[in-house]
């Protein structure tokens, strides 16, 4: 069992197949999450909602309500697929972009927004949907926990360094890392041309990938 601390609260992570994050919230602390990841909670833990531009999010396929739980009390979360929890402590002044539907919870001091993936080719062929969650810390540090399907690997890119990633495997990146869709043409003789799309990530910053994903279909 792994134990983490943020602000006055503690988080215990347990489980190998589908890990559970159990939070003991201090009175002044809170976490936010998509409502369907809540596994159990004490009766005393109040729930409320985070203000988001709901309809716009719904159109993008993201849950239009983000729930908030405040302390004091205990609450636990898990997602619905075999994988790993990625614990990302965020220092003040950090920005992190996360694949939609991958975030499990974030502490109250982290600001939450979402960014539209720019470029039609990126949106249509990028395999990440149209939106990415963006988590920003200003003055206070915070704790962000993601759920990656399968195993999760991280690589730190130097300035200008590039890596091509299967779009479905992308999990998170520092906002300093840019994302562009690369089209790779595959010539198969009599069978004609096939196109494969990969996400080109350019540093500097961290890139996280997951080993289990829905394979992004290549187009002809």
């Amino acid at each position: 069992m792994t134990e983490l601390r943020f602000s006055g609260s503690t988080c215990q992570v347990e489980g190998e197949l589908v890990p559970v994050a159990e939070i003991a919230l201090a009175p002044q602390d809170g976490v936010y999450f998509e409502h369907h990841v809540l596994l159990w909670k004490d009766e005393s833990v109040p729930l409320s909602s985070l203000k988001t531009s709901g309809p716009r999010r719904s159109l993008g396929g993201m849950p239009h309500i983000v729930s908030v739980a405040n302390g004091p009390g205990r609450i636990a979360f898990s997602r619905d697929a075999a994988g790993e929890l990625v614990v990302l402590p965020l220092h003040p002044g950090m920005e992190l972009d996360v694949r939609e539907h991958a975030f499990l919870l974030a502490s109250h001091s982290i600001q939450y927004s979402f960014v539209r993936i720019k470029g039609l080719a990126n949106a249509l062929h990028g395999g990440n949907g149209m939106w990415m969650d963006r988590f920003v810390t200003s003055q206070q540090p915070g704790l962000l926990i993601l759920h990656g399907n399968g195993n999760v690997l991280q690589r730190t890119l130097g300035a200008g360094e590039k890596i091509l990633v299967e779009p479905g495997a992308f999990l998170y990146k520092d906002s300093s890392v840019t994302l562009q869709t690369q089209q790779i043409q595959l010539k198969t003789g009599m069978l004609g041309h096939h196109n494969m799309y990969l996400a080109e990530m350019t540093g500097p910053g961290r890139v996280g990938i997951q080993s289990m994903y829905v394979h992004h279909h290549s187009g002809e």
């Binding site: 347990e14 589908v18 003991a24 909670k41 009766e43 729930s67 898990s78």
Partner: protein, 292 residues
């Protein structure tokens, strides 16, 4: 004299064995209880051997574990045909008597179930990444299990069903839908004549907790795997403080939980079904409510 009681199956056990011979839980595992009182059910160790009657079952694998039975003469297990992995030709297989078929259907099991009679070998597995849970039951002991979690049981374990009585209705007059967030019925297994072994399969990881008399907890309805019969369950609806969603007439921002109240043991799995869409609830079974 045997003084060791396994903390997972709650049966007297052999402290000199590496794993509990009745449920396969490691004997020497350190006490790993979270601050709130949950204990992770340890996965049954690969190739751990569980004894029942003159037969035994060996659990192989850790991702999607397989239960390999070595059945003695005169002993049998029953199961649903879709969990059968392999069998010795010597193992005699036949369909269960149709007597009790109604109960089987109501309990969420197939109408036609298979029996495997010893002597011989047979292996069973579910098809989700998860854990096999062994529940040895003493003579007369009974336990409630969520439907579709059943893997197999020894022949002396009788099954029955019970209505969960946890439901709610959404939709308008012409198009109403009844939801059963923890299933319409639950399975109840009881050991008759002598002790027996019940094997369940739960997707994800499993956590167990003991609730004291009157202690209650809110959990996702579909995450409950099993509970002692002494634990009471009912629907609980929570309405978080909303910020401007009320203008949607058909939209109902709420969380559907079940409230479990002790005394007794409960087990939850870390994979659970996503709650249904947030349509307005028109009617429901007995429920407690809270508006934040």
């Amino acid at each position: 004299m045997n003084t060791y009681v396994c903390r997972f199956c709650r049966q007297p056990s052999d402290p000199s064995a590496p794993t509990c011979p009745l449920c396969g839980a490691p004997v020497d595992i350190r006490d790993s209880v979270s601050d709130s009182g949950w204990t992770k059910q340890p996965p049954i160790r690969d190739m751990a051997k569980l004894q029942f009657g003159q037969s035994h079952v060996q659990i192989a694998g850790t991702m999607v574990p397989i239960a390999e039975f070595n059945l003695a003469q005169q002993e049998m297990v029953y199961f649903s045909h879709h969990v059968l992995l392999w069998a010795d030709p010597a193992t005699r297989m036949q369909n269960m008597s149709m007597r009790g078929g109604w109960k089987r259907m109501m309990a969420g099991m197939p109408l036609i179930m298979l029996e495997a009679h010893g002597p011989g070998h047979i292996a069973l597995s579910d098809n989700h990444a998860g854990e096999v849970i062994a529940l040895p039951l003493q003579h007369g002991q009974s336990i409630w299990v969520k439907e579709h979690r059943f893997l197999t049981a020894t022949g002396n374990i009788r099954y029955d069903w019970t209505s969960n009585d946890v439901w709610y209705v959404t939709g308008d007059d012409n198009d109403q839908e009844t939801h059963y967030p923890m299933g319409q019925f639950g399975d109840v297994f009881t050991a008759t004549d002598r002790p027996g072994l019940l094997l369940l399969h739960a997707p994800g990881n499993v956590f167990i907790r003991d609730l004291q008399q009157g202690q209650s907890l809110l959990i996702q309805p579909s995450s409950l795997v099993y509970r002692d019969n002494s634990v009471r369950v009912h629907l609980h609806l929570e309405y978080p403080r909303s910020q401007g969603f009320a203008f949607w007439r058909s939209f109902d921002y709420r969380n559907v939980f079940i409230r479990v109240t002790g005394p007794g043991r409960i087990a939850v799995q870390s994979i659970f079904e996503r709650p249904e869409e947030m349509e307005m609830i028109r009617n429901h079974s007995y429920a407690t409510r809270h508006r934040w």
